[in-house]
């Protein structure tokens, strides 16, 4: 038979057509049945807790002597006595678990109480059998976490690189500067948080804090190598960039850098026009470009994929750097991020052993389902990869990303059970 192709809306239509199911018990009958059920429940309620308590006592009687024997043979061996402690706590846990189950059972007294009694009678025996390898049987997940902690105590503290909504305090503003690397090849967006000032616009704050940036410390080139002055006319949305007298920007890479930085500012702050000046006079000498009076708006509609950039080999935490190019979809961007761009010294931000499927759930949300063998760990590398994915998703105007099919449910601060909000801005740095 020909394979049928089902569409979402057809499925939705079918679901809506599922018949109404009605219940014919009258109000009176229902009420009576309920009252009878309630009575039965009340009468049986005392039984299960008593059984549970009896089992708990029995369990203790059996476990305590076993533990005392263990202690005797332990002697001065510290390791052994540590195991004892664990055993003791596991035993209590086991008891608690039992209690919980029996309590749970008490909610459903419809079942044959005799069965419950029988069940419970078998339990302690099984529990003793388990005590031998209780570490393996009991709450495995907790034990593994403990193990991980021993090997990698750092994993608890891994920090993301970007700024997230919850990081920003009420009185703070996030400013993102496009700072060139030493080769003036890549422009790294660096975000700093500053206090808002009552009568200053964001653009004015941006200009005021330019001189506070620690580019050299961060392993980057200079943002304003010619010490230009910036003035912003808020009402006309015109930015004036005034270079000191006799400035001649001879190198073409530097003039390109200035243009790039200024066009980025233009896009970020909705600036209408940027005027270039030298010592208050219109225009500046810009190498190959010649005498230039203003910066034109450029087309910034191309989307960026985020890659890793390391200023040098000693650097362990990457900068997450957008590379603007013509990309059709977020899926294409993720594919590109697996490769990196060698000529720009941009490294792949998604490792080869992490494969996933991307689906658009809504205009706001992306769903990423990792392949079964994707190597997702709670470590820094994986965290940075997730951040690269989030920042790229943001570039394509999604607000949140849900990650699925991961064996763990937490990476750094991200709770993988929930949707992760995309960052506010990349590469957070502190100002002195």
């Amino acid at each position: 038979m020909k394979k049928q192709d089902w569409k979402d809306d057809h499925i939705e239509e079918l679901l809506k057509q599922l018949p109404k199911i009605t219940n014919h018990i009258s109000k009176q009958d229902m009420y009576q049945q309920m009252m009878i059920y309630k009575e039965q429940k009340k009468r049986k309620r005392w039984l299960t807790p008593s059984v549970a308590s009896a089992v708990a006592v029995l369990l203790l009687c059996i476990l305590v002597p076993t533990m005392i024997n263990f202690q005797d043979s332990a002697g001065s061996n510290i390791d052994d006595s540590e195991q004892e402690n664990q055993l003791a706590s596991n035993a209590t846990q086991q008891k608690e678990e039992n209690d919980e189950i029996t309590n749970d059972e008490s909610n459903h007294t419809q079942g044959n109480t005799e069965d419950i009694v029988k069940d419970e009678e078998v339990d302690p025996q099984e529990d003793i059998d388990q005590t031998g390898d209780i570490y393996a049987q009991n709450d495995q997940s907790e034990y593994t976490t403990a193990n991980d902690n021993n090997e990698q105590p750092v994993t608890q503290q891994i920090e993301p690189t970007a700024v997230y909504a919850e990081d920003i305090k009420d009185q703070e503003e996030v400013l993102t500067y496009s700072i060139p690397d030493h080769n003036v090849q890549n422009f790294i967006p660096i975000s700093v948080m500053v206090n808002k000032e009552a009568d200053l616009s964001k653009m004015e704050l941006f200009i005021n804090h330019m001189s506070d940036l620690k580019e050299a410390e961060w392993g980057l080139g200079e943002l304003n190598p010619f010490n230009a002055d910036f003035h912003y006319d808020t009402s006309n949305q015109v930015l004036a960039v005034d270079f000191p007298a006799a400035t001649n920007i001879s190198s073409s890479s530097q003039s390109e850098a200035i243009k790039e930085i200024l066009t980025d500012m233009m896009a970020d702050f909705n600036i209408e026009k940027i005027d270039l000046l030298t010592d208050g006079e219109q225009g500046v000498e810009m190498g190959n470009e010649g005498f230039t009076e203003k910066i034109d708006q450029v087309d910034t509609s191309n989307k960026s994929a985020y890659y890793f950039y390391y200023p040098n080999e000693e650097w362990t935490t990457p900068f997450l750097v957008p590379f603007r190019e013509k990309i059709n979809s977020v899926t294409d961007a993720f594919a590109a991020m697996k490769k990196g761009i060698e000529t720009y010294n941009l490294k792949a931000s998604i490792p080869n052993d992490i494969d996933f499927e991307t689906e658009v759930v809504s205009d706001e949300q992306l769903l990423i389902t990792f392949e079964d063998d994707a190597d997702i760990k709670n470590d820094e590398e994986t965290l940075y990869t997730i951040e690269a994915i989030l920042l790229t998703a943001k570039e394509f105007e999604y607000n949140e990303v849900k990650l699925e099919n991961t064996e763990i449910d937490q990476i750094g601060r991200f709770d993988l059970e929930k949707e992760i909000q995309v960052p506010v801005a990349p590469n957070k740095r502190d100002l002195p």
């Binding site: 079918l14 809506k16 219940n23 018990i25 109000k27 229902m30 009420y31 079942g111 069940d119 849900k402």
Partner: protein, 183 residues
């Protein structure tokens, strides 16, 4: 008769029953669970603060009752093992299709059967959204989830249903058509 019971029965009995039925897929069990729902509702009606709507409150109780009944069906060992991974579990049931569904088209019968293969969370969202016609916000309030989580689960559920439908169509499309004709 208790006036609260009287009012809730009149307003919501059929809705809640239908919800429970599609959750547990067994009319008798759904009737039994209805009693449990009323007991829990009457017990905690005083504490109901009207923060959520009466309807979402009732559905959230019904959902808990249904989930508890699933747990009860399992042995305690399984319960411990699966305790950590409840949301992903699938519940198998072999109950016959109810008469109301048997009278529908083959496609509707198929979708009813495919719902069984969805996870409990997925099935809950599908029933609430499409059969009970709750909004995303109401579903989120009932389940105590974010709206995003409802959307994701709904999306996942439709995808799972699509796949199950295709598989079933391929495997037994012809057979079921035959049975239908004979009937």
């Amino acid at each position: 008769m208790d006036s609260v019971f009287d009012e809730l029965y009149t307003k919501y009995h059929q809705d809640v029953f239908q919800f429970l039925f599609y959750m547990v897929r067994d009319r008798e069990l759904a009737e039994d669970l209805m009693q449990e729902v009323y007991i829990r509702v009457l017990k905690s009606y005083d504490k109901f603060e009207g923060k959520s709507s009466e309807k979402t409150w009732l559905f959230s109780i019904a959902r808990n009752v249904a989930i508890d009944s699933f747990r009860k069906q399992k042995g305690w060992k399984q319960k411990i093992i699966e305790k950590f991974d409840w949301s992903k579990q699938q519940i198998k049931d072999e109950h016959p299709m109810p008469e109301e569904v048997v009278m529908q088209s083959q496609e509707i019968q198929m979708i009813y059967r495919c719902m069984e293969k969805c996870s409990v969370d997925q099935r809950t969202v599908i029933i609430m959204r499409y059969i009970q016609e709750l909004s995303i916000a109401e579903t989120a309030a009932t389940l105590g989830w974010t709206e995003s989580k409802v959307k994701t689960t709904q999306h996942r559920a439709l995808k799972a249903l699509k796949k199950n439908m295709s598989d079933m169509w391929e495997k037994e499309g012809l057979n079921s058509e035959k049975t239908r004709l004979e009937r």
